[in-house]
Subunit: 107 residues, 2 copies
């Protein structure tokens, strides 16, 4: 069906999944890594850097902005994108928590 049954899961489960989903595409990982390196840049820089069409990069940026991972500051015709520090830390915390459990036994 292509339609996730969100209503049968907890808010926390849906949230973790939504955050992981945004990281689930190499273009968005590339965008994140580039922004970690240069602090901030415009959409056109990412088009040059990554090699996807402008419309495609813009679409990925929107998804990252939608969950709050990126901020976009309008500066004339350009939009200065950067990582939202608060969300970045929150995301780090979510994964730290998820993976900090130590596994006891197995089959």
């Amino acid at each position: 069906m292509g339609l996730t049954k969100s209503e049968i899961f907890t808010t926390q489960q849906n949230r973790i999944a939504a955050i992981a989903k945004v990281l689930g595409h190499p273009a968005r990982i590339a965008i994140l890594q580039h922004l970690l390196k240069v602090q901030s840049c415009i959409c056109g820089d990412l088009v040059d850097e990554i090699g996807l069409a402008q419309a495609t990069i813009s679409q990925h940026l929107r998804e990252m902005k939608n969950i709050g991972l990126l901020k976009g500051d309008i500066d004339g015709t350009k939009v200065c994108y950067c990582i939202d520090e608060v969300m970045f830390k929150e995301m780090g915390g979510i994964f730290t928590e998820l993976f900090q459990a130590d596994l006891k036994g197995c089959c």
Copy 2:
């Protein structure tokens, strides 16, 4: 197109994305959390616990097994699923590394 252009990204970027993608569905988060709690269980347990059809749970389990997050030990007609400790730790490390950067400036 629905077809990711994997070839323009680094192996590392594709790998991080593939790992995140598996976590990008609430059912798979629910499966992971349940296994963290009970160490190991069979497919039918997850069907009861989560409330999706058996075929659907089986499909999610396969995806998690495909990237190495889960192991499945056949035990008669049952299959005992549990988390692969090595992969679990590796995944934790990947996210720790990705989110440990401290952001300097912004727009």
